[in-house]
Amino acid sequence: MRNLWIVLAVAAPLAAQQGFDFKSLDKLGAQAKETTNVTLEGPTLQLAANFLGADGDSDAASLKEMVSKLKGVYVRAWEFDKDGMYSMADVEPFRAYIRAGQWTRVVEVKQEKEISEVYLKAGAAQQFGGVAVIDAEPRELTIVYIEGNISIADVGKLSGTLDIPDLDVLKRGGAASGAKGGKSNANGKNDE
């Protein structure tokens, strides 16, 4: 009995630390017209940061500094041909995961059939532990999950003060191959 308690005491915090299984959302890609699927974590994320500026990316230094503090970047976005190809129930497991953690919903906007939610994770002083975004439109669904130390200034950078290339520009330049351009995965890590 004592051993069982020891196992439970060890297993419970480990279970709490388990990240969200983004593969559970991948089924949505089967019905999507376009899918963006990015998973970058650990060494691959830092490798990506090291290559910022390799092609003359503007603001590379600022981006590098921000990314160097991150643990993981997960983006899933789907574009559908018609309304009703997904439901908010599909997103519920992700919401439940966020709610169970130390995340606070800082923005919730609802307009007709559009919903946008922004969550921030509690972190060290003057810093957050991550940012998550759920953006649902009738024919588009986007989930962004960024974990790691991030400041409010970084969130500002992410939302526009940095010269992050536009998706269309990335598509034209071929940088976003597999992203927003078809159903291929664009993982930095092998999910399989």
């Binding site: 490798l47 990506a48 970047v73 939302s159 526009g160 940088a175 992203a179």
Partner: protein, 107 residues
Amino acid sequence: MSFEDQLRETLRQEPAPADFRAKLMARVQAESRAAALPAPWWKRRLSLALAAALVAGAVIPAGVLEHERRERERGLAARNQLLTALAVTNSTLRHTREMIRRNTRHS
């Protein structure tokens, strides 16, 4: 037989066969010829070392270059994914901001 007779019998000189000398000389000459012949080039140490150096010299830089090329490709692919992720985040947060603006205007 006494001990002396046995010893004498044992030490008795016997003449060598008639062709002994010829066989012996032929064998000595054959062995000295073989010893005088140089080893084929692929058995010589210097040749082996040189060949190994040439192979290493050709293979190692090619391997290093290939490894560097693959690492660069992997890095650029990861960077592209990161830029894609940041671009999606950027456009999503802008959309949220736009929704907030619209909501604020309506209220």
